[in-house]
Every structure is written in C-alpha cells, then in structure tokens.
C-alpha cells in the first residue's frame, strides 16, 4: 500500500519532466493532435538546435552557469565568514545583528526591485550580468545556516589553540574555520546554485532577450518569440537538464541539506 502510493507520487513528480522530453522530441504539429504523444519522436536534435540558435539558449546556459557559480561562491564565502563570527566571536550588538540577518529572510524581493532597477539603469548595467550577480551575493539564510552549523561543528578550543600558536584572523579562518565548515559549505553551495539557476523575478526585470539567463530566455520562448511548441519544450528541457544532472549526482546531499536547514531553521 505504502509503495503503491509512493509509486503514484513518483509518477506525478516525474511525469511533467518526462513529458517535456517527449514533447521536445517531435514536430510541433505532433502536439496539436488527439491523443497527445506519449512516446519519444525523432526530432529532438533538430528542436534543440533551433532553440539553441533562435532562442539564444547557448548564451543563456553559459550566462546562467557564470551567474549561478559566482553567486554560489560569493554566498558561501561571505556566509561562512559571517556565520563564523556569529557562532564563535564575541562583539557588541552581535545578537541584534544576527536578528537583523534573520529578518532579511522575510523581506519579499518585490520590495527592492524598483530602486534596484533605477540603480542598474543609472549604472548602465541593464543586460549586464553583474546586475543579477551583485544583489544575490549575500543571503541571510546562508549566514544563519553556517552559524547553526559552526556553533556545533567548530570546537572553540580549536580556535583558541590556533590563536595561542600565534595565528591571526585570516589564518584562523583559512586553516581552522574553512576545513571545519567544509561539509556545510558544500551543501550551501549546491542549494545556492540551484536557487540562483532558477531565479526568476529580478533577472526577468534586469535582463533582456539579447543577453539572457536561461529563465529569461524561457520567458521569451513562452511569450511566443519562437512559436513552435516543440522548440519551446526543447528549450525548457535544456534549461532544466543541468540541474537534473546535479540532482542525480548530488541528490542525497541536497536532500540532506534541505532537511538539515529545516530542522535548524
């Protein structure tokens, strides 16, 4: 019984993805027929080629990879630094500042887009990737996540021992904090990468079709710049496949990371 339900859940979870591939593998006309296709056709390569060139999917994938990697690297670095300070160092207003960090998680992104856009327009950054990268480089969730991990995983004695040996701030971070934080850094990097890859609201505003991320390019497809449904599905498949690969390889760690963040959050 349990398995029967879980199989149904599995089918429902995977069906839209599988069907994306089925729809992307035929001609557009095949989708305007009853019954709808339920098996793969032979035009996948052609559709992917059209999406790649007409919808700038090649550029979009490269851009998204650059953005997501940079954002993940920056978030992990800054979150580990701040998380370490909040977990192990003593300073004035520490608790108030930590509360502020947590508070940033509840602020909807809509509240910032108008001035952000004005700023980006002022700097002539519309369509430049830094307009998407810079605002995403820090995350309250990341700081909180690293703090919660380091409170337990980093023995205070270890820091004191390093200090006693004459290690300064940067050396302590490099030789003590980073090694201790490595597992959490890896999880945070994956979670941030996924989030940055799929980020939608701000990139759609800050970028245009001439230099898009994958999500912006897909928005263009959906708005009918390329009318062929099979090509649209090929684009959707291209935009999703890299993350699915990440999931196949690191699925267990990502699941663990989400569950870890959930318990502590």
């Amino acid at each position: 019984m349990t398995y029967a339900v879980l199989v149904v859940v599995t089918v429902l979870s995977l069906f839209p993805l599988v069907w994306t591939a089925i729809a992307a593998s035929g001609t557009g006309g095949r989708l305007a027929r009853t019954p709808p296709p339920v098996w793969f056709g032979g035009d996948l390569v052609e559709n992917v080629r059209v999406a790649w060139t007409d919808a700038h999917m090649g550029v979009a994938l490269l851009n998204t990879f650059v953005v997501a990697s940079t954002v993940a690297a920056g978030t992990v670095l800054f979150s580990t630094l701040a998380g370490f300070a909040f977990a192990k160092l003593r300073f004035r207003f520490r608790n108030a500042l930590l509360l502020l960090v947590i508070g940033t998680m509840t602020v909807p992104p809509q509240l910032s887009v108008v001035p952000l856009f004005m700023l980006v327009a002022e700097l002539s950054w519309v369509d430049r990737l830094q307009s998407v990268v810079l605002p995403a480089l820090v995350s309250g969730f990341g700081v909180f996540f690293m703090r919660q991990y380091l409170v337990r995983a980093l023995p205070t004695e270890l820091i004191e021992a390093a200090r006693a040996d004459g290690a300064g701030g940067l050396r302590v971070v490099w030789h003590v904090v980073f090694p201790a934080a490595r597992p959490a850094m890896a999880v945070l990097a994956m979670l941030t990468f996924v989030m940055a890859w799929n980020d939608f609201f701000w990139p759609v505003i800050a970028l245009t079709q001439s230099n898009p991320t994958v999500q912006v390019a897909l928005t263009g497809l959906g708005r009918g710049y390329v009318p062929d449904q099979a090509v649209i599905m090929a684009g959707a498949l291209l935009g999703t496949l890299p993350l699915l690969l990440v999931f196949v390889v690191f699925g267990r760690q990502i699941v663990g990371g989400i569950m870890q963040g959930a318990v502590k959050g």
């Binding site: 879980l6 979870s13 993805l17 300070a85 602020v107 809509q110 108008v114 890859w197």
Partner: protein, 350 residues
C-alpha cells in the same frame, strides 16, 4: 526570534550545551575566563578588554568578518527597501526615473479604489489557499509514508524533490501545454474518463486551479522533506506503542505524526504564505503571449504580476512601489493576526 533578551543581554553561543554541562564541575584548567550571560553593560566592556586586551586588532576582527554581508545587504537590500517606501510617495515614471514628484499618499489611496488591485489581491488570496492547503496536506502524507522504514527511501526522497529543481519558467511552460484546451494532456485524460474538455486558461476558477497546480507540483516534495526532518526528532517509541495498541497507519498519522509536527506545520504555513503573496512567474507565463495581464480578464493576475505590469508595462514606478509596500503591509498584518490568535489560544488552553 523574540527571545527574552532582557534577561540575557549576552547569551552564550551554545546555550543548550552550556546548560547541559552547567551542573557538572568545570574542567580543571579553565583557560581564559569565559564571559557568562548577564551582567551590567558597563562591566561587559571591561571583561572584553581583559579577554581581548592581548590582541590589538581582535576588537575589530569580528566586524571585518560580517562586514561583506552587511555592506552588500545595505547596498542591495536595505537601501532599496527604504527607497521603495520613499518612491511610493512620489510620481515616478520609468521613462524618467530621476524626476520624482511628491504626491504623498495618493498612490496608496488610488490602490483602495483600484479595481485591478483589488482583483489581484483576491486572486492572490484564492490561489494562495488553493496551492498552500493541498500542498501541505500532501506533503504531510508523503512525509508520513517516507518516515517508515522502507526500501529505496533515498530514491523516493530525491524523486519527490526533482520538481524543486525545475524552474518556474520550465515548469509553467510544460503545464501550459498539459492544460491546453484542445490538445492538452489533462483534457485528453478527462475525455477518456468521459468528462468534457475544460478551458483551463480562460475560466475564472479553472485558471486559478491550473496555476495553483504548478505551485503544488513544485513545492510539495520540498515541504515533505521539511516534515520528514522534523519527524526524525519524534521518538520511535511513540509509533511503536501506537502500533502495539493496534493503531493503523492512518490512526498513527492522525494521532502521532500530525500532533508532533504542529510547530513545523506552522513554520511551513508561514513560509508558504510568504511565497504565495509573491507569486509571479507562474501567472506571468501561464498567460502565453498576452503579457502581464494574468489572463484575458485578469482572472489570474496576482499582486506580484500587477506590480510588474504597473512598473514595467505601464511604466509607473511610483505606483509599483506603493503596491510593493502594500504587499509588505498585508503580510505584516497577517503575521500580527497569526500572533494574536496564537496568544489567545495559548491563554485559553494553558
């Protein structure tokens, strides 16, 4: 988050551990005196000096660690947040964003009589309920099933999370096809069962249901994992004794799983509600080529989408800012209401 900071102005890092080890005698070579919670603010400073005095730069060290976060957050988070409030009191057009004309609360006053704003508010609430309730209920059920020992549990966990890896854009584009009126998969299945074809995109309720379905599909597995994580803190004995008493899986679900998860459920309700108020990508793309109207009759235009339409289609940045702050205020009101209800219930059931 609202901890009683008055009693502990300087809480320790590891309250749980500290408290657990408190009764035991302290380890013999208690190296530098670890500052404890409490004490007057004046004394705190002297204590820090004794501790840090040996190291010159150490006083500023901690701030150097948190500085990158706060500098970037200040520039791209806090400043825009406040500036949005400022802009909402002005007439600002996207064509000339530096020409700001003071209009006071007029943008907000307009919203109260703006038919499209009220429509978007209604749609946001409706779609929010239609997506949050089934999503969390199904997540609870899935978590309950996955919590029991079973073969391939890691496989199922990864599988239920795959929709989370799918972007809003990719997911919505597929569902647009699946919910197509003439050749969509859903209508074909309905036809096989003998039900008539449904015009998912143009119906008032059907379109909202379809948009909610996309949200439910993407987030159910994620919430299931959050519940699953919380369930692992529940002692196995609860389930074992329930099973010994002959409780079925269903009764275990009702009497063990749901009650133990109550705080987590509240947490997910809050998070999902925040997410629901921001709904944007799904209604934008469910519309196909028609832009940001949320359907031919705005039948599934949400607040997020209306903000976008006002700001980037109609070019009224001031009004878009007012919508943004109105959304924020609605969330705050909602939060206050939840807190009040919680306090009231706690008083009635001590």
């Amino acid at each position: 988050m609202t901890g009683d900071t008055t009693t502990t102005p300087l809480p320790d890092d590891t309250p749980a551990r500290a408290r657990a080890t408190a009764p035991a005698p302290p380890p013999a070579p208690a190296s530098p005196p670890v500052p404890r919670a409490g004490g007057a603010p004046g004394r705190r400073r002297t204590r820090r000096r004794t501790r840090r005095g040996a190291r010159g730069g150490a006083r500023w060290g901690p701030y150097a660690h948190i500085a990158p976060f706060f500098v970037l957050f200040g520039a791209f988070g806090l400043f825009p947040l406040l500036f949005t409030g400022w802009a909402s009191l002005h007439r600002v057009e996207l064509t000339a964003p530096t020409d700001m004309e003071w209009v006071g609360l007029r943008n907000y006053a307009r919203l109260l009589t703006d038919e499209f704003f009220l429509n978007a508010l209604r749609n946001t609430v409706t779609i929010g309920i239609l997506s949050t309730v089934p999503q969390l209920l199904m997540a609870l059920g899935i978590a309950h099933l996955l919590h029991h020992r079973l073969r391939g549990s890691t496989f199922f966990r990864v599988v239920v999370l795959t929709p989370y890896a799918t972007s809003v854009a990719a997911a919505t584009l597929v569902f647009v096809l699946l919910f197509g009126r003439d050749f969509g998969f859903v209508n074909w299945v309905l036809g096989v069962v003998g039900a008539g074809p449904v015009d998912w995109q143009n119906g008032r309720w059907t379109s909202r249901i379809a948009v909610s379905t996309i949200v439910v599909w993407r987030w159910t597995g994620y919430n299931a994992l959050i519940y699953l994580a919380a369930l692992q803190a529940v002692p196995d004995e609860l389930y074992e004794s329930a099973a010994l008493d002959g409780a079925s899986r269903w009764r275990q679900f009702v009497h063990v799983t749901v009650p133990s998860l109550r705080p987590t459920i509240l947490f997910t309700v809050v998070v999902s509600t925040i997410g629901a108020t921001q709904l944007f990508g799904e209604p934008l793309l469910f519309n196909g080529s028609a832009g940001a109207t949320g359907g031919s009759e705005h039948q599934f235009q949400t607040l997020g989408l209306y903000l976008y339409e006002q700001g980037w289609v109609d070019l009224h940045l001031g009004r878009a800012s007012a919508i943004a702050w109105a959304m924020f205020l609605i969330l705050l009101l909602l939060g206050a209401a939840v807190a009040l209800v919680g306090a009231y219930r706690r008083r009635r059931t001590p």
